[in-house]
């Protein structure tokens, strides 16, 4: 009887101590793109792979968005 009680008490103590608790922090893994491949904008028919020209055109186009650049103050 005493032995059974001792086993139950030890079992209860272990259960309350949560010694079997699994880690609850998720391990994140960075995913990799699973869709279709895409071409780059300078590989279009308009640029034919000329990346330098595309970047130059983009910069020039961006600068046109400022009226200060287009019409410098006198």
């Amino acid at each position: 009887m005493n032995a059974t009680r001792t086993v139950i008490l030890i079992g209860a103590a272990l259960a309350l101590a949560a010694c079997s608790e699994a880690p609850q922090v998720t391990h994140y893994e960075a995913g990799t793109y699973s869709g279709k491949p895409d071409t780059r904008p300078w590989e279009s028919a308009a640029y034919g792979g000329d990346k330098a020209k595309w970047e130059s055109d983009m910069r020039a186009r961006a600068r046109k968005q400022t009226e200060i650049g287009r019409m410098p103050p006198s």
Binding site: D38, A46, A62, T66, I68
Partner: protein, 209 residues
């Protein structure tokens, strides 16, 4: 290498919704989908009204990419966040993750269930042949491949909305705030970009009288 960004100057935005209209027209965006919208705070309060045009901000560390269970998002070499609609399952996780509310979902089918996600592409199309009908139908026009910038920014009447390489936009904005005047932190910084700029200075001048 260019890093494409949008920048909206709240000191200039007049809530005309021209950017919204341009986007919808250029890409023939279906009814109920808003790739871009204008948000106004303090609407109707004289002197405190601020408007800002919001769409996908093409985050450098995009939360939509992090939460997508089928990994349909990718970032192009020039920093534009795009996705493959063919693989999208329309789960809506990206909508919950996005701090700007950029992902949009059309209603499809007889019961109006959520369709494949649609969002601003920075006018860069998607993973289809550049300029093809398939690309236009799924993602809209590919203006970057034509050497053009997003139409919403290019046609903004007050040039509040700027789009393009982040370095070029920073140069434009720096020129602006220097011309606006002021000293110290108000010359360039949070208050100038997001409120408290010219209107605040006018209030201060009024208070001095």
């Amino acid at each position: 290498m260019a890093r494409m960004k949008f920048l909206c100057d709240t000191e200039r935005c007049i809530e005309c919704n021209g950017c919204v209209t341009a986007c919808k027209n250029e890409h023939e965006v279906p009814w109920g989908i808003q790739r871009r919208r204008v948000v106004t705070i303090n609407d109707g309060v004289v002197g405190q009204e601020k408007s800002m045009s919001v769409a996908c901000m093409h985050c450098s560390d995009a939360p939509c990419m992090a939460v997508c269970p089928v990994d349909v998002f990718y970032r192009t070499e020039d920093g534009v966040v795009l996705h493959d609609k063919d693989a999208c399952i329309g789960c809506g996780y990206c909508f919950y993750a996005c701090p700007f509310g950029a992902p949009q979902f059309p209603q499809e089918g007889a019961f109006g269930q959520r369709g494949k996600m649609d969002k601003c592409t920075f006018c860069a199309g998607g993973p289809e042949a550049d300029g093809s009908d398939a690309e236009f139908e799924k993602y809209g026009r590919n203006r970057l491949a034509e050497g053009k910038l997003p139409l919403c920014a290019e046609m903004c009447s007050t040039k509040a909305l700027l789009g393009g390489d982040g370095t070029a936009l920073a140069d434009i904005f720096r020129e602006r705030v220097v011309r606006r005047g002021g000293t110290g932190a108000e010359l360039i910084g949070w208050n100038t970009a997001y409120g408290g700029g010219e209107q605040k200075r006018e209030q201060t001048r009024g208070g001095d009288k």
